[in-house]
Amino acid sequence: MNNQKSDFSALTGIVTTLVGIIYLIMCYFVPRAPMGDPLDPIYFPAGLGVLLTGFGVILFIKSDKSVMVQSVKNLNQMSGSDKQVTKMIGITCVCGTLYGLIFEHAGFVISTIIFLSSILFMTNGKKIATNLIVSALFSIGIFILFNHGLGITLPTAFELF
């Protein structure tokens, strides 16, 4: 992707405006206060919605629309390294989500070893020994530090330490 030519201001403006409008619609559905002014919980958020919509419109008006079209086209011609970065971010997000799903069931140590070694396989390649050693040292070290040093209880699948 050619970063110098990339400018998503117009698109950012559109998205911001849409978020502002959606937020304003959601404000309408906020329950009214049972006591005092019923609209009390809505004034402040409604003001924010109006402001965000306004700033979105300003950004769109100020932006160069032709550059944005080119920028969106450029997205399809991403360089190899940009594609790789996007893939890495995607994998990290998926791993993070799966980590959350197994964390309390598998316990901190096991789930963290799985999570960290997956990320390390992605960043460090197929250096199995290094990846596993780093993941295990980190997981066990943090577990001991938190559970015994800091008094913060991390979940366990079974009593190990």
Binding site: T12, F55, G56, S81, G96, L120
Partner: protein, 510 residues
């Protein structure tokens, strides 16, 4: 004055307790290490290391965090000097002359002067802090809800309008942050707002999750690019890390001049260390008899920004500790952690919890001494961290972020929020929307709304309450000025450019 000195002495009695000394040293060393890592600045450093403070008391937690903060400021310049890659924006100016010095074989002098300048800058700023903290906090006690709301509006506007590039983007970031803060049960009416039926959102989104997501995950996502580009090797063997008499002669005035400048800029919301160090560098270059040496390894070109940068980090604590308004990303993280520990920074901090307030101020002096000791003789050992490849380091940072997020509320829902905010931080950087206004807004959002509604309740819904007192009018003027000034400045520079262009065209034509 005697009262201040007495408070400071009490602060020293807190900060000099062996446990606190250990914490400030540990925080300083960890901060130095994190600060050295390219891409991970003080805000990320404090965010990632935050879980360490969860089980501590507020005084110990704040002392540790300030240690991490200063350490990161000290460490940020190591990677600038040795591998031409600043740890964070504030260390950018250290690349201008620090790296050329290292290339010329003067890495030892560069590392030493950077630590000395940081020490002096930080200490001078701590003296200013001692003198200003009490008067500012006493003045802030005069604020009613309307003034407090306007103060937050002014602080957020300044942060948004000083955002690099585009003010509109800064304001968008700020409003999105305020919107995030409105999610959850409304504290005053008990009504659910924007929870979308998700039970876990009823208690709102913890600002620490937003902070760790945007700063730690977002920065790691951004750093994935550098994994593709490869890393530079840093020099890890050094001779004696010290400076010559001649080098000291050249550096002392730039250091002394830049410290007050850095402190002042740091105290302004949104300005921060980057602006302070760049301004100090430019000032010294303009004042120098040999400006052509700047950029080629001039020691004063390294000393001045390093002094300003550390002074700014102390200055940034002024609005946080005395007004309860974080002026920078890092102080926002620290304030978030304090709020979690049940301590509300602000004017009452100095009357209700003088041990915390003055203990922290005293620990600034001690922290600076410890960091100078750590960073000069041990620099050679500490910089070995730079040889840890990013491909191992970044996954470890990710691991720390997730465990930190879990430790906040013992909930894995925060993992998903962390991923969302990490992506948000990455996208915001890509589309050039600054993240600092969002973070500050998330932190002060709730208080800001409560102050707004309290003021309206006092006035029975009359908006004139926001323009009733002189203080309120001053704050409104400050907000307008903070928005108008960058606009006027940009218009003037455009006008100047067009005049220069037309002059050139005329001279060509003639």
């Amino acid at each position: 004055m005697i009262e201040i000195l007495q408070s400071l002495m009490n602060g020293f009695s807190v900060a000099l307790q062996p446990y606190h000394l250990l914490l400030v040293t540990l925080g300083g060393i960890l901060g130095t290490i994190v600060g050295m890592l390219p891409g991970l600045g003080p805000a990320t450093g404090v965010a990632v290391l935050l879980p360490l403070t969860f089980s501590m008391g507020p005084t110990a937690a704040l002392i540790t965090m300030t240690g991490i903060y200063y350490g990161a400021m000290f460490g940020g310049s190591r990677s600038s000097i040795l591998i031409n890659t600043p740890g964070d924006g504030a260390a950018l100016a250290a690349t201008f002359d620090g790296y050329p010095m290292a290339k010329k074989g003067k890495a030892e002098s560069a590392l030493a002067i950077s630590a000395i300048a940081s020490f002096i800058g930080g200490t001078i700023a701590a003296v200013f802090m001692v003198m200003l903290a009490t008067p500012v906090s006493r003045f802030a006690l005069k604020f009613g809800p309307a003034e407090y709301f306007l103060l937050m509006v002014a602080a957020l506007s300044m942060t948004a309008s000083m955002s690099k590039g585009n003010m509109v983007r800064g304001f968008i970031s700020m409003i999105v942050g305020l919107m995030i803060a409105t999610i959850g049960i409304d504290a005053q009416s008990g009504m659910k707002r924007f929870t979308m039926g998700i039970l876990e959102l009823q208690t709102g989104i913890d600002f620490l999750i937003v902070i760790i997501g945007i700063y730690a995950l977002g920065e790691v996502f951004n750093s994935f690019k550098s994994l593709q580009d490869g890393t530079q090797k840093a020099q890890t063997k050094f001779g004696k890390i010290w400076i010559t008499k001649d080098e000291w002669k050249k550096s002392k005035w730039p250091i002394l001049r830049s410290a007050p400048l850095g402190f002042l800029i740091g105290a302004l919301p949104g300005a921060g260390g980057t602006m302070a160090s760049l301004m100090a560098y430019n000032n010294e270059k303009q004042m120098s008899k040999t400006p052509e040496e700047f950029g080629e390894g001039a020691i004063e070109g390294l000393a001045a920004p390093e002094s300003a940068n550390n002074a700014a980090s102390v200055g940034a604590l002024i609005p946080m500790l005395t007004l309860g308004i974080p002026g920078s990303g890092t102080t926002a993280v620290m304030m978030g952690a304090l709020l979690m520990l049940g301590i509300q920074p602000g004017p009452l901090l100095f009357t209700k919890h003088p041990d915390i307030a003055w203990g922290v101020i005293a620990s600034m002096f001690i922290g600076n001494i410890i960091l100078a000791i750590v960073n000069i003789p041990l620099a050679g050992i500490l910089v070995r961290v730079l040889s840890i490849p990013g491909r191992i380091l970044y996954p470890v940072v990710l691991g720390l972020s997730f465990v930190g997020a879990y430790a906040i509320a013992n909930s894995t829902i925060d993992f998903y929020l962390l991923v969302i905010f990490g992506l948000m931080g990455y996208v915001m950087k890509k589309i050039k929307i600054p993240t600092a206004p969002l973070i500050l807004a998330v932190i002060v959002g709730n208080t800001m709304e409560q102050s707004f509604r309290q003021a309206l309740r006092i006035s029975d819904g009359d908006l004139h309450i926001f323009a009733k007192s002189n203080l309120a009018l001053t704050l409104i003027a400050l907000t307008v000025l903070s928005v108008a000034y960058p606009m006027i400045k940009s218009q003037l520079s455009k006008l100047r450019q067009s005049m220069v262009k037309s002059d050139k065209d005329q001279s060509k034509a003639s």
